[in-house]
């Protein structure tokens, strides 16, 4: 038999074909370059509520130690930023009183992760410039800010207005619902928890009591049911004679209120369940923005080649055990 005929016969061998296929794939993997493709990134403005009620420790942190809403929100945002595809951009702001405060304009999340991470870690309730917590006003202004920056919004808050909203409700949203997409993230547990109180040097001194906070907003006209209150007098006691009582000194996540705000502004509501897991909710709610990505075809080629090589080696073993392979001998 001539060498030519030998090779021609060998070419029809199944295992040779497997190995030759693997050879071709590996050769391809050696020369393959990453393919450029477009991925869906996001551009967000993250606004973090740093008012007093965010200090409530109603999350379980590492090792079961209670963690504050603010710390949990910071950890969740860090996790969120770390999971965004490169090319996504994140701006950060704080909310207290009735307005957001922009810390920085959007930064690319991969090259700028260290500064974003540092800024997130440094967020503290002590940065607050005033004590009020007028969430709807803050949210509406945050939406305007996000629109100006050309980003989506992630607004993290527990939804507790301080002072409480008057009986006729909060201010109405005057913008266009849905002009800015994004998330309202409700931080906190559904049950009531005490709010830590700090002295003027920033040291914790206990919790707020029922008499320390405004329990009812008594500005403006009284609520419709005021007539039935004890001691009601239209001129002298329009809100009734009794002191307001309530649970405003305790805090829970006001999901119903936040959902109303979300519906009013065209945002999506999501509850903050822990220090991770905001990514999926954001991807669903945010505007996808094309960012350049890369696809490396080599692992796919290599995996296929490995299967072919293993098949060529395993075939005799399988056949020896009577397991059918491609060749009927």
């Amino acid at each position: 038999m001539t060498p030519g005929a030998l090779i021609a016969r060998n070419l029809s061998d199944g295992r040779l074909r497997l190995l030759a296929g693997a050879l071709g794939l590996v050769a391809l993997a050696l020369v393959a370059r990453p393919l450029a493709l477009t991925r869906d990134g996001v551009a967000i403005l993250a606004i973090v509520d740093i008012t007093g009620s965010m200090n409530v420790r109603d999350y379980a942190g590492a090792g079961g130690v209670p963690a504050s809403r603010l710390d949990t929100a910071k950890a969740a945002l860090r996790d969120l930023v770390a999971g965004l595809p490169c090319g996504s951009r994140v701006a950060l702001g704080l909310f207290t009183e009735r307005r957001p405060f922009l810390l920085f304009a959007p930064i690319e999340t991969c090259s700028g992760f260290a500064p974003i991470d540092g800024a997130l870690a440094a967020i503290d309730w002590r940065m607050a410039w005033e004590g009020d917590s007028r969430i709807s006003a803050g949210l509406f202004r945050s939406l305007a800010l996000a629109e100006e920056l050309g980003t989506d919004l992630v607004f993290v808050s527990d939804g507790q207005e301080a002072p409480p909203l008057p009986s006729r409700g909060g201010p109405a949203f005057e913008g266009r619902p849905g002009a800015v997409r994004g998330l309202i993230v409700g931080a906190g547990a559904p049950g009531l928890s005490p709010i830590p109180r700090h002295d003027d040097r920033g040291r914790e001194t206990g919790f707020y009591g029922a008499g320390d906070v405004q329990q009812e907003n008594r500005f403006g006209p009284p609520p419709a049911d005021a007539e039935h209150r004890e001691g009601y007098n239209p001129r002298n006691a329009p809100f009734g004679a009794a002191a307001a009582s309530g649970t405003e000194h305790l805090s829970s996540v006001r999901e119903a209120y936040l959902r109303t705000l979300a519906a009013e502004t065209g945002l999506t509501y999501a509850h903050l369940d822990g220090p991770t897991g905001l990514g999926a909710a954001l991807t669903a709610a945010a505007t996808p923005r094309p960012v350049p990505g890369r696809f490396d075809p080599r692992p796919a080629l290599g995996a296929a080649a490995l299967l072919l090589v293993l098949a060529s080696f395993l075939a005799p073993l399988l056949r020896a055990r009577g397991i059918p392979t491609w060749k009927k001998v």
């Binding site: 050879l23 050769a27 700028g112 500064p115 293993l310």
Partner: protein
């Protein structure tokens, strides 16, 4: 050498658990099996053994190479410390409401620029003009706010500076701002040149209790202190003595200046009444801050998957060549006639 090995790593290390699969060629072969009546009839043959060993090795190399390549091996990047010209600059920016007014103390209209906008424009040009500077940005009004920690990512710093002409907040609480601005320096080699750049349009009384804390921090860190005072036209200058009592409450600017002078750190105050003066002040700071600074250079990580694929390719080439060269004893017809010739044939070895 050990250092080089320690820097090896993989993207998907779990795949390395498949490596025992590479021993498969020791158990089996991809060559054709040829029945021989009695293998002992043939004499032990050196070249045959050598070819057998080569084929097994090639099989091991081909499989192991592929598994290694799939695990995504790389050599980690390293951080090299070099020395360049630059400084650690902690920028402390006043975000009180008055920064949004013009130098004439009015709301900006038309071509007029607010103090914050002028500071933003000129500081953005300052950041990034030298590659090895590191910046931190702190904002303060009623409370200090850490905006960006000390970083060499100039894009991030410029993004922070881009936010300073947004509407400001309430008051000017300069003492707490200074404390946070100083805390931004963090641990660094004592040789590093540090600069604290305070940009404000006013001053406030520093509580005597806080003064001692600040003095201690300045003495420890020894930063060069620059105060870029964006003075509104007609408002008191740093050097103006008030007509009445000369107290910090009556002339906070003058007393802040006196406090800074008493710190015994290099200190310059720049009083700017317009954008040109601000530009000039920043150019001067740029000239003054020219000291060697250790900076880190990131060497990128090196992908080693290519080597693993090349290794696997070499093994596969040998295997395929062996498969192509297979001869079958039965079908070639005359095994007895050419025992020596067949002995070196791969088919024989695989049997």
């Amino acid at each position: 050498m050990i250092g080089a090995l320690a820097r090896l790593s993989a993207d998907r290390p779990a795949l390395l658990l498949l490596l025992p699969l590479a021993l498969l060629p020791l158990l089996t072969s991809a060559q054709r099996r040829v029945p021989v009546a009695a293998i002992a009839a043939a004499p032990a043959d050196g070249p045959s053994r050598a070819i057998g060993a080569i084929l097994r090795t090639a099989g091991i190399v081909a499989i192991a190479g592929l598994i290694l390549a799939l695990a995504g091996p790389y050599r980690r990047g390293e951080t090299l410390t070099r020395t360049g010209i630059g400084a650690q600059v902690s920028i402390l920016i006043d975000r009180s409401g008055s920064m949004n007014e013009t130098f004439a103390g009015r709301q900006p209209s038309g071509v007029e620029e607010s103090k914050a906008a002028a500071a933003r424009r000129l500081l953005a040009a300052f950041v990034g003009s030298r590659a090895h500077d590191q910046f931190a940005v702190t904002a303060f009004s009623t409370a200090p706010m850490l905006v960006v920690p000390m970083t060499d990512r100039h894009d991030a710093v410029r993004a922070a500076i881009a936010a300073i002409d947004r509407p400001g907040l309430d008051y000017t609480n300069i003492a707490r701002g200074l404390a946070m601005g100083l805390s931004q320096f963090g641990p660094a080699s004592p040789a590093t040149s540090r600069a604290l750049l305070l940009v404000s349009d006013g001053a406030a009384v520093i509580d005597p209790r806080v003064q001692d804390t600040l003095r201690a921090a300045f003495a420890r860190l020894r930063p060069n202190l620059y105060w870029l005072f964006l003075r509104t036209k007609g408002s008191p200058s740093i050097s103006d003595k008030p007509a009445g009592e000369d107290t910090p409450q009556a002339a906070p600017e003058r007393h802040l200046d006196l406090f800074f002078k008493s710190l015994r750190v290099p200190y310059r105050a720049f009083e700017a009444e317009g954008a040109e003066a601000v530009a000039e002040a920043i150019a001067q700071i740029d000239r003054l801050e020219r000291d060697p600074i250790p900076y880190t250079e990131q060497r990128p990580r090196r992908d080693l998957a290519g080597f693993a694929y090349a290794l696997s390719l070499a093994g596969l080439v040998i295997l395929v060549a062996a498969k192509l060269g297979e001869a079958d004893l039965r079908r070639t017809g005359a095994p007895a006639a050419r025992p020596r010739a067949d002995a070196s044939d791969p088919a024989r070895l695989a049997a």
